[in-house]
Assembly symmetry: D2
Homo-oligomer: 347 residues x 4
């Protein structure tokens, strides 16, 4: 069985295991205050071009989302996002669990527009019964989205501008950030993204780490009070995200950002994803969304799906009609040429 | 600098790193549904003598405590614990963050008694304005406690009996469980403890794992509805504790429980802790509590503390008078003979 | 200015003021444990045909909804409702504030069907990643709905049956219950409704009381544990709904249910509403929904709206096209013949 | 039976019923935006000497406390108060229900000092593991306290100064504010108190209203951001405190503050309380606390308590020894000379 189910099928990049091995008997302070975490924070600040950024390490995406969102919103505020946003669909209501409504906007491709955001904010402010409704207090977007699509620089600038004009922060979920930045279709850089968001995170779990997400607060952003970032460690602890052995996260991000491993590993996945995409396209299959990243969503006849399942692992994503289903194939740092060759051959 | 600050100064037991290395390229399902997690669950059930137990893996202690407690209590219920309990003092209000009051009972040595619990429950039930007060809905104890002390079998039986008579569950925080069970002063076994608690966890982070706690629900306990345990995975996800690469926890607990490594490593720490204790006792120093586990709290003159600080790391715990402070020395699986020798020599 | 903005424009039914006057200097226990509350509870049990029902008095609808819903759901559960449901739109996220997601289902007329509910529950149970999603834990419907429509007995039986087959409770928001039950279009009685719901409330605020809603737990319902109802007073207090002078609510519901005043006053409103509806219909105007209750939503030319506004108060409800808007006219116990005459004349 | 159980035994001041009667058929906008509420806000601003104050009306004390506290604190912050504070003891954990820990300080007489507050804040800020603990984010005091005692102007100035120096707001629970301000032992005025607090409320329920508390935000206070007060109506709605017929609160506070009725009615209660106190003191009984307000706590032999219970209602407050209990006698605007005469005669 060759699996394309997800980008978290294997352990981690070998470089990370080596770094864990090498540092294993060092004695370090706990809770993220060790030298490895400090170094990782420096490397990330440099990669983002934000020398004053506050960088924090969290364990996973759901935790990062709920902790960040609840640290920023006032009790009566909610977060605007695409209806397909991970926080709206696949986190067991973790945001609502912290007391906040997710304000979902319609989206066909996983993206929302500056116009949708501006309209939602204005509609709320103009409503005479606004106090009876949840106030939009921040915007959440995923980069890439849950459907593999990415925002252009211009789209992101428009969104950021809209948010800041309205005085509300922009939060970018980057659980698969590297796969977006590496895509040939991407016209923006990490520093550009970092400058446009108030807070975002750089995903580790789905990009070759054992676990971990690096949260970056942009200190120059206008819409998040500096105290929120300064006291964020209280929020991490309160939400169960502060590891006693915080170095486990520091060592991994240190390894990922020391010499470009993060984007290098992601580029490998993108190359394999294009091979997968091209193979399905060559057979004439349509796609649920036009994804330039490591998740591909071909729409296949159910008969083909049944046949492929004998040798390959992948997820059924969405029933399209009586005989067709959109499925998801995911590549990662660990996807081998041989695995994709076998898939191509099977097609 | 030789550090006795905590039991999470180093990475992890070498056997764990080896297991991670060996399994690294295996492709497995996510979210704790892989074969390693299954195997670890079986091993833990066997070690606990609870063949029907539900076993779940969580990332850390604060997260485990808040997730378990909030999964069981009704909104108007609180949790009884010692005023020195970790949930009351050192978790940034994570339990209150889920909406529940911590009902702290006075305690000199970190323990609470069956009598205190019974009195608190009865006082509530008899109070004519009880609906204006938080209802005791479960009991939390630490084994060992935050002061290194442990409950005897008889004490634990009395507490368990009191809880079950009152129809409320008993939860045991076992962040350092192995250090308690291994202590020569301990007169109970893991199966005995497992049979008396409704839910407890087996600490990994402080006992040689990179991270992780194994939560065990006792299916035969009378005071927790079976649905709570059955649906507990929803709670884990909602609280940000479900790792995509859940196998990271499974592999570790598999390693710890395959051939007795868990208790073997803890026994090493206990031996070193006794050497530390004996060295301080031989010099005539008193202790904050009579701890038979891996945390020792000698009360030292501030002048001695200052001198020891040049070569050793340890925590100041509690100011006793103008010239004396209780400090904490902690040993672990990684504490070397040489480190303790050096401390003894320095005394 | 003659106002049709809402059914809470005036103070209260004169009978209620008289009862408050008469009882003013009586000394009674607080917190709903006085003789007036006891009597009101008996009268309501009798009116519902539920001799064992638990009846509680709360201050308002938003408070009643959030308190009831959060008292029943487990943390990872959400509440199914129509997307137009009051809890989803107009309560400032009060349900999410208690930690629970509102699971909105599409609805054109404010109602949801047994089929929609069954499908949503089954889709969740069959989803392989269900633990990553909010579990449907109860169903909320409004009777009448926010658009003035009502469920038939058969529809309500189907919904109740679906809920109970799935083991989840049915909650009916009856903020305007009387206006529904009185409507000539209604084919069910209060006892019939009471027997089908697990919990519901009888609105006072919008039906002639100064404030107050009477919550009724059906003890024979299968899907709510008896302890939830028994301990509900804790929930009320915790949510700020327990009045020190609880008699204020008891005296009002005693008055409303002593001799049929509740439905008598509602019937007056329905008669006036039909006159309003007939007047608009006679002019050929369409309606947003076919409401047989005290809220009417004619779709009017904006020019007419502008003219009517000089003399009448009413709410703009929904923009239909460039030149038409659906508006809301509401009648109540206090709506005079003269007021409706004037409106008819103006048309 | 003559009752001294509480100050909410009767309905309301006759002037309030008259005002409700008179205004009953007026048509007004809902949700506190009517002319009566506006007028009441103006009268209160004038009485407080705060022409820019934001005034809001809430239904009861528990609701006011939880709504105010949760609107101000960040998620990881808690509220400092006396261990006997109402929020800590008698509100079913309403504050914790909103996610915040109550940080209780020891208190013999219901009061806390500026020194205690300063020490608690400083201890937190100096603790090296402060991020693992709840951060003090505001201070709650009751005026009068739950034991009937009051702060002097100098004490209040010291507390306010300490809070503002530390940058955290001071909140005064004034559920019985008038009984404190009227007491001959009180050396401060309402404007003086209003200038020292960041937010406080003027109790109605226990001072002759049917229900209601008037919350006053001081716009010139340094420690609460103006947005919190500006958006407070969202918080009220979300917490179920926004009455559709908001005028019910406006009319009552308009009546209480139009011509001094609020303090006049309280003064009557104080006079009766002094007669009660003097009667017990003359018999040589000690008191639990030296209360100059409308609650008196004599310590009586259990035999006397038993005898008095035949004719009088009052609460047992605290068991003192095998034969003595502190009890509570409460007077109000409604306490008659005859009632107190009867009590004196019975002694």
């Amino acid at each position: 069985m060759i699996r394309f189910d997800s980008d978290y099928l294997e352990g981690c990049l070998p470089e990370i295991l080596a770094a864990l091995q090498e540092s294993n008997l060092e004695q370090t302070p706990g809770y993220g205050e060790d030298a490895h975490c400090d170094n990782a924070r420096s490397l990330i600040r440099r990669a983002c071009g934000l020398e004053n950024a506050d960088v924090h390490f969290l364990v996973g995406g759901t935790q990062a989302n709920a902790t960040i969102i609840s640290s920023i919103l006032r009790p009566y505020q909610g977060v605007l996002c695409a209806e397909s946003g991970h926080i709206n669909i696949h986190e067991t209501g973790a945001v609502e669990h912290t007391g906040h409504k997710v304000l979902a906007l319609p989206s066909a491709d996983g993206k929302i527009s500056a116009r949708q955001i501006a309209d939602a904010i204005q509609a709320h402010r103009e409503d005479f019964s606004r106090e009876h409704m949840v106030q939009p207090g921040m915007v959440y977007i995923s980069f890439p989205t849950e459907k593999g699509t990415i925002y252009s620089l211009r789209e992101l600038q428009a969104i950021s501008g809209t948010c800041h004009k309205a005085g509300i922060p922009l939060f970018v979920d980057g659980a698969r950030l590297g796969y977006g930045l590496c895509s040939p279709a991407c016209d923006l850089t990490l520093p550009q993204l970092a400058a446009l968001a108030d807070v975002f995170y750089i995903g580790g779990t789905k990009q070759g780490a054992l676990l971990g997400e690096a949260v970056v607060f942009n200190p120059d952003a206008s819409a998040v009070a500096p105290t929120l970032s300064r006291d964020f460690r209280y929020n991490i602890k309160q939400n169960g995200g502060m590891l006693a052995k915080g170095r486990l996260l520091g060592i991994q991000f240190e390894t990922l950002f020391r010499d470009g491993l993060y984007l290098r590993a992601a580029s490998h996945a993108i190359r394999q994803a294009r091979r997968v995409r091209d193979a399905f396209a060559a057979k004439g299959y349509a796609f649920l969304a036009d994804s330039p990243t490591n998740q591909q969503f071909p729409i296949l006849p159910d008969t083909l799906i049944e046949r492929l399942r004998r040798d390959f692992g992948f997820e059924a994503w969405q029933k399209m009609d009586a005989e067709h289903t959109a499925v998801r194939f995911v590549t990662s740092w660990a996807t081998t040429d041989a695995a994709v060759d076998a898939l191509i051959a099977a097609l």
